[in-house]
C-alpha cells in the first residue's frame, strides 16, 4: 500500500479507537508527555513507541505474553547471534555488536510493530486510527518486513512464479499457519499458559528452525503424514523429503551481502552482489524428530567471509562451521510442480540438486554437509504421474 501521509501516521480515530478498551486508557499512561494544547509542551518526554524496550506499557495487562515474548526470535533476533557466534570468536564480538546495532537491530520487533503500527520499513504509521489489531494485517505488518523473499513468493510477486496455493486458493494469511505461540516465542514453561502436567521447561528458540516443526504441513494435511492418501510419492517419500522438495518452485537466493556506513550521509547501507532464482535440493543439516528429512530445498544466504569487513578484518574466522546454502522453506507451495510430474523428474536430474560444481569454490568447505554427493539414480520402471484428481 502507498505510504501514509505524515498526519495519517498519528491520526487517532475518535469513532473507532476511543470506544475500544485501549481507548479508555489515558494517552499519557502509555505515551508519557503532558496535557497541553501547545504541541511542544505536550510532547515533552513523549514515548512514541510505548512497547519498545521492556514493553512495560503492554506488560501491565498482557503479563502472560509479555513474559514469553521478551525471549522470542522476533524480540531478540537470536537467530542472527546464533550464526554470528558460531562463525566468529569472542574477541570479535564488540565489532560485531557495533555492526549488528547499525545494520540488523532495526528488525527487532516490539508488540506495537505488529499490533499497532506499520514497521518503519514501510514508513511507519498507526493502523486504522490507532486500533489495536489482534491478528497483524499481512501486507501492512508481516510482509512489510518479510517481503523480499517470503512476501514476494507467497503473494506471487516474483515474475513468472505463481503465488502460494494457500494464498491463491485459500486466501490464507500468515497467522493461519504461524500461530501466536510461535510468533510470540515458545513459552519457556508450558504451564505459564496451560494448567496441568505440561510443565516441562523449553528453552527459547535460538534460530527459526529450532525445536519442533511449527508450523507443520501435516497439521492440516494429516493424511499425507499418515501415508493414508493414495499419492504414491507420499507413500515412498513420506519422511525422507520435506514437503517443499516436491511442492515448491523457484525462489530467491542472494550472494555476498556487505554492510558499511555511508561517507556521505553517515547512514548504514548494504550491497548484495547478486539476486537470482534457484530451486536446488540439498541435504538436511537440521535433522530432528520433527524434521527427519534427508533432503530439503536450500537457499543461498548472502553472508560471506568478508560481509562485515567494514568493522574489522577477519571477523568470521570460523565461517566454514555453518553452511551458507541453508535449509529453506519457500513460501510458494504448489500442488503440482515439475518435481511432482514423474519419479525421474528428480531421479537422475542433477540440475535439481546442489552438487559440488554449483558451489563457489571458496564456500565448498562450509557446505560439505549440504552438498549432494550422488544424485539419486534414474528409476527405470517409471510409475508415471502422481497427479491427484
Amino acid at each position: 500500500m502507498a505510504p501514509l501521509e505524515p498526519w495519517e501516521k498519528v491520526f487517532v480515530s475518535a469513532e473507532k479507537f476511543l470506544p475500544t478498551v485501549h481507548g479508555q486508557i489515558p494517552c499519557t499512561d502509555c505515551h508519557g508527555g503532558k496535557q497541553s494544547s501547545d504541541k511542544n509542551e505536550a510532547h515533552t518526554d513523549i514515548v512514541a513507541r510505548p512497547s519498545n524496550g521492556e514493553a512495560k506499557a503492554c506488560a501491565n495487562c498482557h503479563t502472560d505474553i509479555s513474559g514469553v515474548y521478551s525471549t522470542s526470535l522476533h524480540a531478540q533476533q537470536t537467530g542472527y547471534w546464533t550464526a554470528l557466534n558460531t562463525r566468529s570468536v569472542p574477541e570479535n564480538h564488540p565489532a560485531l555488536e557495533e555492526m549488528f546495532g547499525n545494520h540488523c537491530a532495526s528488525c527487532h520487533t516490539t508488540c506495537g510493530d505488529c499490533h499497532v503500527a506499520q514497521p518503519k520499513s514501510v514508513g511507519g504509521g498507526l493502523f486504522e486510527g490507532h486500533l489495536f489489531i489482534a491478528q497483524p494485517p499481512m501486507t501492512r505488518s508481516c510482509t512489510a518486513c518479510h517481503g523480499s523473499r517470503v512476501g514476494n513468493e507467497y503473494l506471487g510477486k516474483t515474475e513468472g512464479i505463481p503465488g502460494d496455493v494457500h494464498f491463491r486458493e485459500g486466501r490464507m494469511n500468515c497467522v493461519n499457519c504461524h500461530t501466536s505461540h510461535e510468533l510470540h516465542g515458545q513459552p519457556s514453561n508450558c504451564s505459564q499458559c496451560h494448567e496441568g502436567i505440561e510443565d516441562t521447561t523449553i528453552p527459547p528458540a535460538d534460530h527459526r528452525y529450532d525445536g519442533v516443526q511449527s508450523p507443520s504441513c501435516v497439521s492440516c494435511h494429516p493424511d499425507v503424514g499418515l501415508k493414508s492418501d493414495d499419492v504414491q510419492m507420499h507413500q515412498q517419500h513420506g519422511a525422507d523429503l520435506s514437503c517443499q522438495v516436491c511442492h515448491s518452485v523457484s525462489y530467491t537466493s542472494c550472494d555476498s551481502c556487505h554492510v558499511q556506513i555511508s561517507n556521505k550521509t553517515g547512514n548504514p547501507y548494504f550491497t548484495t552482489d547478486a539476486t537470482y532464482l534457484t530451486f536446488l535440493i540439498g541435504r538436511n543439516t537440521l535433522k530432528s524428530f520433527t524434521r527427519p528429512y534427508d533432503y530439503v530445498p536450500v537457499r543461498h544466504i548472502p553472508v560471506d567471509p568478508h560481509s562485515y569487513d567494514f568493522y574489522g578484518d577477519n571477523l568470521l574466522p570460523n565461517f566454514n562451521l555453518l553452511p551458507n546454502w541453508a535449509y529453506a522453506t519457500p513460501h510458494n507451495i504448489q500442488r503440482n510442480t515439475p518435481q511432482t510430474a514423474t519419479c525421474n523428474a528428480c531421479h537422475g536430474n542433477a540440475d535439481l540438486f546442489l552438487t559440488a560444481d554449483k558451489v563457489n569454490p571458496e564456500e565448498l568447505e562450509a557446505n560439505l554437509d549440504v552438498i549432494v554427493l550422488e544424485v539419486p539414480a534414474v528409476i527405470s520402471d517409471t510409475v508415471g504421474t502422481t497427479e491427484t484428481p
Partner: protein, 92 residues
C-alpha cells in the same frame, strides 16, 4: 375542606415531579463521557445549555485526543518528512 385536600394533592404532585426531574439530571451527569473529542464548532449557547452547564460539571478536555483526532489540525502541524535516499543495493 375540599379546597384544602385539593391544595394538598397538588402540592404532593408538584413535589413528586420535582424529584423525578432531579433524578433525570443526575443520570445525565453520570453518563457524561470524560474522553470525548471536542466538537470543532462552538454551539450557540441556549438557555437549556446554560442551565445544564450549571447543573453538570464540565468534562476535562484531553488535549492529546483533541489534537490527534482532528485531521485538519494534524495536517497543519505535522512536520514534513525528510526523505533520505537509500544507498543500499540489491535485495535486503
Amino acid at each position: 375542606m375540599k379546597k384544602l385536600f385539593l391544595r394538598l394533592t397538588l402540592f404532593i404532585l408538584a413535589l413528586g415531579l420535582a424529584a423525578c426531574g432531579q433524578v433525570k439530571a443526575d443520570l445525565s451527569a453520570q453518563s457524561q463521557p470524560t474522553r470525548q473529542a471536542p466538537t470543532p464548532q462552538a454551539a450557540t449557547p441556549t438557555t437549556a445549555a446554560v442551565e445544564a452547564a450549571v447543573v453538570t460539571e464540565a468534562a476535562p478536555v484531553d488535549e492529546c485526543v483533541a489534537c490527534h483526532t482532528n485531521k485538519e489540525l494534524l495536517i497543519q502541524v505535522a512536520e514534513p518528512e525528510v526523505k533520505t535516499e537509500s544507498e543500499s543495493e540489491g535485495t535486503g
